[in-house]
């Protein structure tokens, strides 16, 4: 299994907003244990999806030169379960960015994909803080290679018809 919790980037306004979708699938192994007989997308992985959405938005600001690390979940509210066959949409907005890091907010919406319901339902909000880890206050050194924006990240961009240089 690959650590990719969004399927496609559908909109990007550089330095302002990035929108991604995630299709919840019965093919995901973990969902059969969460919970046995009642598969539900785990909230922690939903937050990870928001973090990937928001993190790509933050990374794009500096052409992915910074190592953008999730540092703090400022706020996370999810009011409805996401079930197999449903689609999640994460709309991340850039609240603040400087040399040290960035603050983001994200709206979480759900489409049930039922025949009589084609609306996006607002189901929550996830606000995050990211650190540009090479600029950390403690002065620790990290590897030169940008381990954050690696192969999985490039695969997501490619699947969305984007390449890092143009995002």
């Amino acid at each position: 299994m690959r650590w990719m919790w969004i399927d496609r980037i559908v909109e990007h306004e550089p330095g302002a907003r990035l929108v991604a979708v995630k299709n919840v699938s019965l093919a995901e192994e973990h969902i059969h244990d969460h919970f046995p007989g009642t598969p539900v997308m785990p909230g922690a992985l939903l937050i990870e999806g928001v973090a990937q959405t928001s993190g790509i938005m933050v990374g794009a600001v500096n052409q992915f030169r910074e190592k953008v690390i999730l540092a703090k979940i400022t706020k996370a509210m999810i009011e409805r379960d996401a079930l197999p066959g449903q689609t999640l949409r994460y709309t991340a907005s850039l609240d603040r960015i400087d040399e040290a890091g960035a603050a983001t907010t994200a709206a979480v919406e759900l489409r049930t994909n039922e025949p009589d319901d084609d609306r996006w339902h607002a189901i929550g909000q996830v606000d995050l803080i990211f650190s540009h880890v090479d600029q950390n206050m403690s002065g620790l050194d990290f590897p030169e290679e940008n381990f954050v924006f690696g192969e999985n990240f490039r695969a997501i961009l490619a699947a969305s018809g984007l390449v890092p240089e143009t995002v």
């Binding site: 603040r96 040290a100 890091g101 803080i129 650190s131 206050m137 002065g139």
Partner: protein, 133 residues
């Protein structure tokens, strides 16, 4: 903005950022030692302070290292064997006029504890006054 108004707004920021109770937020409370702030919380607090004290005509911007000097350990003139040197302490006092150094024994790991609720209020007050001057 009065000192009390600044303190009230800072208390709101700290409640939100650190999840602490209102009655814990007293001027003498250390952000790290008493309120449980970790290094990354300072980034959150700085962002929240900028948002709280910015107005349309006057953005409130806190530069990196302004609230708390960084890279202390890299400089042997300032730190030796985990202790702040006299030159280091003089530098800190100059760059951190919002902090009370009374009773500080020079231990590097305790520098962060010097940032109190009161010093944060003083820091914002000084910046707002400087901007207004």
């Amino acid at each position: 903005m009065t000192h009390d108004e600044i303190q009230a707004k800072i208390a709101e920021v700290l409640e939100e950022a650190l999840g602490c109770d209102e009655d814990e937020i007293v001027p003498s409370a250390s952000l790290t030692a008493d309120l449980g702030a970790e290094s990354i919380d300072f980034l959150d607090i700085v962002f929240q302070l900028e948002k709280t004290f910015s107005t349309d005509g006057a953005p409130f911007k806190i530069d990196q290292g302004e609230l708390f000097p960084e890279g202390l350990m890299d400089n042997p003139e300032w730190v030796q064997d985990g202790t702040i040197t006299d030159a280091g302490l003089a530098m800190l006092k100059e760059r951190m006029p919002h902090v009370n150094f009374d009773g500080f024994d020079g231990t590097l790991s305790k520098v962060g504890d010097l940032i109190t609720v009161g010093s944060l209020v003083d820091f914002v007050d000084r910046k707002l006054q400087a901007a207004a001057a």
